[in-house]
Every structure is written in C-alpha cells, then in structure tokens.
C-alpha cells in the first residue's frame, strides 16, 4: 500500500461465515472492511460508508441479487468511480459460464469483474490493486 490511509472495502454476502473469512483476509492485507449481509444493508452501507471498492456475492435473496446491487451502485454518481467485483459459484454448479470480460457482457452486467468462489486472496488483492493503481495514475 502506497498511501497511508487504508482503502475501505464494502463486502456484501449473505453467508456470515464467508463474510467473516473474506473480511479477515482483506484486513490482513491492510484494508479497512465494512460488511453487509444483504442487498438492502449493502446499499445503505455503500451510501453512508463511501467505500473505495465493493465486493458483492451474486446469489443472496434472489439468484441475481449481486448483479442488481452492482447495477445500482454503478448508476450512482459516486459508485461509477469505484471498482465493483461480483463473487459467484454459479459457473460451477450450473455449468453456465459467464464473466464480464467481453464488451457485450459488460453492456448488461454492470460490474468490473466476476470472480469465482472460493476466493483466492492474492488474486482478489491483485485485482483491487490494479484498479486503484489505474485510478491514481
């Protein structure tokens, strides 16, 4: 971390254990983490907390809650400026693979990245750092 101020990450996941684990992981890498257990809480915390990045689980109350929340954040004036990453294990159990890599996918999936679960800490951190770096340069 180059700056002295810790980057603030918003974590949204309805599984309290995964939430706790990812929080510990990210904190160990020097981030400040705020957590929410559902979309509604996640949105409120986004508005009040002004995080530097958001990491959202795809399947919560609904099968696409993560996309809905990330879409909402990306439409927000402040939200536009931060990276939003959606976590999913959907590709694993439906055999239906998708990502946010092509232009067409980015057109309807309003998030910067889709990362498959289980989360590999180093991969996640690398992604976050590259977003922060490109923003500062």
């Amino acid at each position: 971390m180059q700056s002295d101020v810790k980057k603030k990450i918003l974590l949204v996941d309805d599984d309290v254990d995964l939430l706790e684990q990812n929080k510990v992981l990210l904190e160990s890498r020097g981030y400040q983490v705020i957590t929410a257990e559902n979309s509604q809480q996640g949105w409120e915390l986004f508005e009040s907390g002004k995080p530097d990045a958001a990491i959202i689980d795809l399947i919560m109350e609904e099968h696409d809650s993560g996309f809905v929340l990330s879409y909402k954040i990306k439409k927000d004036n402040y939200g536009k400026t931060i990276p939003v990453i959606v976590l999913t294990s959907a590709a694993y159990f439906t055999g239906f693979k998708f990502s946010a890599s092509t232009g067409e996918e980015k057109e309807w999936i309003k998030c910067d990245e889709i990362i498959n679960k289980p989360v590999v800490a180093d991969e996640l951190v690398k992604k976050l750092e590259s977003y922060f770096a490109s923003k500062e340069s």
Binding site: V24, L25, S28, E37, S89, F93, K117, P118
Partner: protein
C-alpha cells in the same frame, strides 16, 4: 348318381301318363322328383323351393311353358330348365334358349335321351352351384377386408401417439388425428406432399430413408421441442416400410408426447443444482475457516479461533441435518406406495413430541399450552409422517421463539378437518418471506435468524406431507410478534365420503 344328395327335379306336364312314367323312371335313377299337372301349379312349386332341374312342357292348356319357365327363373335363376315339346322345330328351340332354357327335349323321348339331357343339365347345374359358392366366398372376403381396414383405422385413430406414413415420394398415405395435433396441421390430404411442411428434425428423420432403394431394418429417433419452453416436447421415431420384395415402400413416423417427462427432468435438474448449491455452502464455509487457520500470514486471536471452530461445527451440523432431510424427502416420495395408514389420535402423536423437546423448551424458558376439543374424531394416517410434520412445526416454534415466550397448541374440529394451530411468540415473518416459506431451501435471512441453524427443508417436508393427505396449511405471522401455523387434515376418508354423497342425494 354319385352325388351325396339326390338332384331335385320338377316335372311340369299336363299329360298324366308322361308325368307318372317319367317320375318312376327318374326315381329309379336316384332323382328326387315332384310333379305338377298344369302351368300354375308348376309356377307355385318351382318358385317356392329351388329345384336343380325342371322339365317343362311347352304346350299346356292353362299357360304357356315359356311363361312358366320365366316365372321360375325369376325366383331361382340357377334352376336349369329343359323345355319338352312335341312340336320340335328350330324356331321353338331358339325361342326357348332365348328365354333362358338350358336345352329342349323333343317328344316323345326315349329314357336314354332323357337321361343324357338330364345329366348334361345337371353338370351345368353343378357348375352354377360351384360358381355361386366362389362368388359368395369372394364377397365374404371382401367384406372381411373392408371390416379389417376400418377396424385398423379405428385403432390407429384412437392411439394417443401420432402416426404418419409417407410413401417413397414423401406424400402422406396414412395418419391419425394425434399426428395432426402434434404437427399443428389443420388437415392434410392423402397423397399430399408433406416433407416440406414438417418440422425440420422430423423431415430429417424421414429423409434418412427416402433415398434408399432397399429397405433397411433400422429406425431413427429424435427428441424435438415443437413448442418452446417445454410446452410441447415429442420423441419422433422413423422406421422404414417394406414392399413384399424388400424394396422401400415408405416411412412410418411415430410421434410420442414426452412433455411431462421433460418437465419432470427440468424440475429434477433444477432441484439437483439447488441441492448442490446448498450442500456446497457449508463445505465452503468450513473450508474457508481451515484456510484461515493454515495461513501463516494471518494472525488469529484465541477468541477468533474458538469462534471459528464453533462456527465450523454449526455449519457441519447443519450439513448433516440437511442430508438427513434430503433422505427423508426422497424416502417420502417412495413411500406414497407403501404407507401404513391406521387410525390415529392426534393428541397421542403430539404429546411425545413436546416431551422430546423438553430440554430446548426449558433452556429458553418457554411455556407450552396444549388444548384439545372434546370427542375429536381420529385420523386415518401414517403415524410416522404425521409425527414428522408436527415435529418440524414444533421445532420451528421453539427455535424461532423469544426467551420466556410461549407456544400454544390448539386442536379443534372444523367441518371435515381436524385443525391444529401452533402459535408461537417468536420473531415472525416479513410479508415477503411468507410467500416463499414452503419453498425448498428458503430460510428467512435477517439479523434475528443468522444464529439459528436450519436446512430450509423442514417446512417443505411439512407441506409435502399435508398435500399428500389432501390437507391444507395456513400461516399468519407478524414480524417481531409471532407466527401461527394452522394445519388442516381431513378426517373423513374412503367409505365416509360415499356416505356423505348418499346423504346429499336423499
């Protein structure tokens, strides 16, 4: 005569001597003979029963012999008639033949002449009879074929599978209403070219055979979605139809409706993917904690470590329960065929369940009240299933209750139902949660439920059991105040139902 039955012969002559003489002569030869002394008697005899042969005198006082012959032939065209005449001339002979006589005998005749003529006549008669038999047989067979064909059509038209036969040119030659229905045709004509009208996959199945000269004994099938979104799914099978010489005559396509099967398959795969997701979640949670433990770059406090071990245990417990619930569900689906239905008193089932949960009840300081109306009818149910139903509901009433709260169980009768109400003073449900309550794996997720373990299958099992008894369940709930489940189980069944109908009729 060699014939088994004696030839029947009618002699019509006004000359008494000739009649009697000829009769005696012929009877001696084995003929059966009847005689008539005038034309009218001859007509009445000859038209009443069929004779093999008739000898008719041409000139009689009352009526002309040719007229008599005409009348007889009108009734029995196969009777062989001989005209006997004393005025034998070329003209009379021709005239007699013209009117349908087989031959004529000039009078007077010798016995030899008579026998010769009669034996010729009788050969003719035998031929006629033979011909008649063949004709009758042929007609009978034609009738049979027609009947067979219409029976076959009736059968083909009544089967629910679609059937379409096309000839080598791709023209329809046979089809039933089901085929029209599945293929979405209003009507097609026999010998209408249909290949280009068929769904491409089905046309493809037919086209695999049409170019072939020889008929190969194999068939092709393909599952075709005729209407999207699993509205109409069919399995089409094409097989060749052979000519007697082994060349290809055409192709028969059988179309079977497999929509229901596809729907079930879809539901099953949905359920399987849901189950695997639900099974994966606790495994991922425990796996995540283990990874934190083994990550040397992360420092965990003693308190964190204890907490994570505890959480891992809770998640694994939940996983085990879920596997058990899933086994129950699958067992229940199989059990529909081997249920043990017996008369059961609901209070006898519910009391032991409350005793079973005594520890949890006193831990939370709950008060449990059970009130039962008097003289409740018994239920005809499987004891294990009903016990399972109320175990799940009472377990929920305890789990989601407040410390120091209460559970009120009230059993009453309402119409044909025994109604069991289980009312708790727990955390209640939000309106949106109420609708999803009985879905598999649904769990109300909020700040109040996060520490309560559950599989999300308990109420789904409850619903399955209630549905299987044609019962119903009602839920009333207020968030933060409590929830009430009302279970309606019908107590009249089988014989009682028919009695009830009888009551209505009288």
């Amino acid at each position: 005569m060699e014939n088994s039955h004696s030839p029947k012969i009618l002699i019509i002559d006004d000359e008494k001597g000739l009649r009697i003489g000829t009769k005696r002569l012929l009877e001696g030869e084995g003929y059966y003979v009847e005689t008539a002394e005038n034309g009218y008697d001859g007509i009445s005899l000859g038209t009443k029963t069929e004779f093999d042969l008739a000898i008719i005198d041409l000139k009689m006082p009352d009526i002309d012999g040719l007229q008599v012959m005409k009348e007889i032939l009108k009734a029995f065209p196969d009777t062989v008639c001989l005209i006997a005449t004393g005025y034998a001339s070329y003209e009379t002979a021709v005239e007699a033949i013209k009117f349908g006589a087989f031959s004529y005998i000039p009078k007077p005749f010798t016995p030899e002449e008579l026998f010769q003529k009669l034996s010729q006549g009788y050969s003719r008669r035998e031929l006629i009879i033979e011909k008649r038999k063949w004709k009758e047989e042929r007609e009978e067979r034609l009738l049979e074929v027609a009947f067979e064909k219409s029976r076959l059509n009736t059968i083909i038209n009544s089967i629910s599978d679609g059937l379409l036969v096309v000839n080598k040119n791709g023209e329809a030659v046979l089809f039933n209403p089901s085929a029209l229905k599945y293929l979405g045709f209003e009507q097609i004509k026999i010998e209408e070219y249909v290949i280009d009208k068929l769904p491409p996959q089905i046309a493809g199945l037919i086209n695999k055979f049409l170019p072939l000269e020889k008929c190969e004994q194999k068939s092709f099938s393909s599952q075709v979605e005729l209407k999207p979104n699993r509205e109409l799914f069919v399995e089409a099978t094409s097989s060749p139809v052979a000519n007697p010489d082994g060349t290809l005559a055409g192709v028969v396509v059988v179309i079977k409706d497999i929509t229901e099967l596809k729907k079930i398959e879809f539901l099953k795969s949905q359920f399987v993917s849901m189950v695997s997701h639900e099974l994966k979640a606790p495994v991922a949670a425990v796996y995540g904690y283990l990874k934190l433990f083994s990550d040397s770059s992360i420092h965990l406090s003693e308190e964190q470590k204890l907490n994570y071990l505890n959480r891992s245990q809770i998640r694994l417990d939940g996983l085990l329960k879920m596997v058990n619930d899933l086994l129950d569900i699958s067992r229940m689906e199989l059990k529909t065929v081997s249920r043990e239905i017996s008369e059961q008193d609901l209070t006898v089932i519910i009391k032991p369940i409350i005793e079973l949960f005594q520890m949890e009840i006193s831990k939370k300081n709950l008060i449990v009240n059970v009130t039962v109306s008097e003289k409740l009818p018994h239920l005809h149910v499987d004891q294990d299933e009903i016990s399972r139903l109320f175990t799940n509901l009472i377990s929920n009433a305890i789990k989601y209750n407040k410390t120091g709260g209460s559970i009120n169980i009230n059993i009453t009768q309402s119409g044909n139902y025994i109604v069991t109400e289980i009312k708790d003073t727990g955390i209640g449900l939000k309106p949106a949660e109420k609708n999803k309550l009985f879905q598999e794996f649904f769990r109300a997720k909020n700040e109040k439920t996060k520490d309560i373990s559950g599989t999300g299958l308990g109420l789904s099992i409850v619903k399955r059991i209630i549905d299987s008894y044609s019962g119903k369940v009602e839920v009333e709930s207020e968030f933060n105040t409590g929830t009430s489940f009302k279970v309606f189980l019908p107590f009249r069944n089988g014989n009682n139902n028919t009695e009830q109908k009888a009551d209505k009729l009288t």
